[in-house]
């Protein structure tokens, strides 16, 4: 494959860079900043999951926060019941993955596409938000875990060493774990996209009919992509529940869904680096905005979204890399940018 030459070198470079950042940051950044950075890293995993589904799978999912929330709830409910966090961690990946698979089966196999897919996923997310918000009565208990309705589930126990519930993850530990997870998801997705499976997924995004006429069942590939994305989002949800030590229906809210979309479109669809960059940038801006009262955060985020759709529809990473490529820096830049995007 021609993609290989730009792949492996860049992948190794990205991995090394990621590891260096992961080890260096806690040494030079103060603890409060570290906590914030951890949340950025966790959200970047969520952004990557949509980057896969939307940017590569071409699936317009407006409800990515649904899987994030399901993962977080699955972890919280399970860990409260089990004590040890190993199985809950797995559940936080499997449950949202299965939910995505079911929803995908329901929709892809009916050949629901595009805008309708967006509206339905949004509606499903809204249903989850409403349903979880209406579980504050004392009858809504799963095992030892009350669902808590609007309040959510407070005091979610942190991850621990497998089999050792007394050895819990510290703040620093969570940062390392989240950082490693982000890196692993990034590398994993890059490798996946280079495989036959990834090639077919991109081919289906480019021309679904042609891919089917070549013998690929587009429904299955979309379903698989959607389920993988759902599972990754669920894992991010689990880490998020660890980070805040609580979980509430807000994770299913429209605001959360909008945020993920903005990260991906700002960073650039059709790349994996883009969603990560977009996520860090927008979160940083959002926190900055939250710290002052002059400009409303929604006002700024809305302007950013409109501006990007109108002026930079490709997103930052593809636009910058295209510009650099035109300036003949291609050999240095190309390895960092994985694939072409939708024009």
């Amino acid at each position: 494959m021609t993609a290989n030459w730009q792949g492996n070198g860049g992948l190794v470079a990205a991995t090394v860079l990621g590891l260096v950042l992961l080890l260096a940051l806690p040494q030079i950044v103060d603890p409060v900043m570290m906590i914030e950075l951890t949340s950025y890293v966790i959200m970047a995993i969520l952004a990557l999951s949509l980057g896969l589904i939307w940017g590569y799978g071409g699936i317009l999912c407006f409800g990515q926060s649904a899987f994030f929330g399901i993962g977080a709830y699955a972890y919280a409910i399970a860990v409260i019941n089990f004590g040890d966090s190993t199985i809950p961690l797995l559940l936080s990946i499997v449950v949202p993955g299965l939910f995505a698979a079911l929803l995908g089966y329901f929709l892809f196999y009916a050949r629901i596409t595009d805008v309708y897919f967006g509206v339905i996923t949004l509606t499903v997310t809204l249903i989850l938000y409403k349903v979880m918000g209406a579980t504050s009565g004392s009858q809504y208990v799963i095992g030892a875990a009350p669902l808590g309705g609007y309040n959510g589930i407070p005091a979610v126990p942190p991850l621990n060493l497998p089999g050792r519930p007394d050895v819990a993850l510290s703040f620093d530990g969570l940062f390392y774990l989240s950082g490693l997870t982000l890196l692993a998801v990034y590398v994993g997705l890059r490798l996946m996209l280079k495989s036959r499976f990834g090639q077919v997924v991109v081919a289906i995004r480019e021309n679904e009919r042609r891919a089917e006429l070549l013998g690929y069942d587009a429904r299955f590939y979309k379903l698989a992509t959607f389920a993988i994305g759902g599972a990754i989002a669920g894992l991010a949800g689990c880490l998020f529940a660890n980070w805040g030590m609580f979980i509430s229906p807000d994770v299913f809210g429209l605001a959360q869904s909008a945020q993920v979309i903005i990260w991906v479109i700002v960073g650039g669809t059709g790349t994996l680096l883009g969603p990560i960059v977009g996520c860090f940038a927008i979160q940083w801006i959002a926190t900055k905005l939250g710290a002052q009262q002059l400009l409303n955060a929604n006002l700024v985020l809305g302007t950013i979204l409109i501006g990007f759709v109108l002026l930079v529809p490709k997103g930052v990473v593809p636009t910058v890399s295209d510009a650099l490529r035109r300036l003949k820096f291609r050999p240095y830049v190309a390895p960092l940018v994985e694939q072409r995007r939708v024009p």
């Binding site: 021609t2 081919a203 006429l213 070549l214 013998g215 690929y216 069942d217």
Partner: protein, 242 residues
Amino acid sequence: MTSPDCILETRGLEKRFGGVVAIASVDFRLKQRELRCLIGPNGAGKSTFFKMLTAQLKPTTGQILFDGVDITRAQPHQVSRLGIGIKNQVPDVFNNLTVAENISVAARSRHGKARAAAKGKDVMERLGLTALTGRLVGELAHGQRQWVELAMVVALEPKLILLDEPAAGMTADETNKTAELIREVNKSAAIVVVEHDMQFIKQIAQTVTVFHQGRVLIEDTMDKVQGNELVREVYLGKSEDD
């Protein structure tokens, strides 16, 4: 039952869009490794017929048998897996992938990594696409994109190839090359070609089927078809005026 030498058969195939009958009760038979040309004026139902054969459209009534298997209600990917390849009328390719990637996606639908790579290389050489491997297909000229699509279909190694206007937009040289290629591929696969270009048809045709208003008007050798009054009336006469 279809006879063993018959690769494709349709029985009473019909397609209606609302009140409009696009294909009316077509019985069509194609032998193993036969090369058939399909002609007929615009709107005669040729593309609709192709789309039903490849499950892009579901027939209203009737039956399609391919290699002894009923594929009337199959999905497009299943039809492809059974061994039907199609080149659509408009270049139907992956515009944002390179030439090599386009062909690789096709080859890997049938083969493992190593064989697919070899097959892809072979196909690109045969179709003279080697110089273009790294180019994005969306950036190529119309004729070149036709070649890429043709290469993808060939890389599938199908038992039956459907070609919807393969020579459209090609230069005389390219058309000749295409005809050559078709004859070569025909050694291992049955082929149905839809074309308007009579010169091209003469180059390759054995048997010609004429569609008119959704029905088979006549099916015979090129010479006989050209001599047929009815065909002249509905099609050939007009075509020469165009």
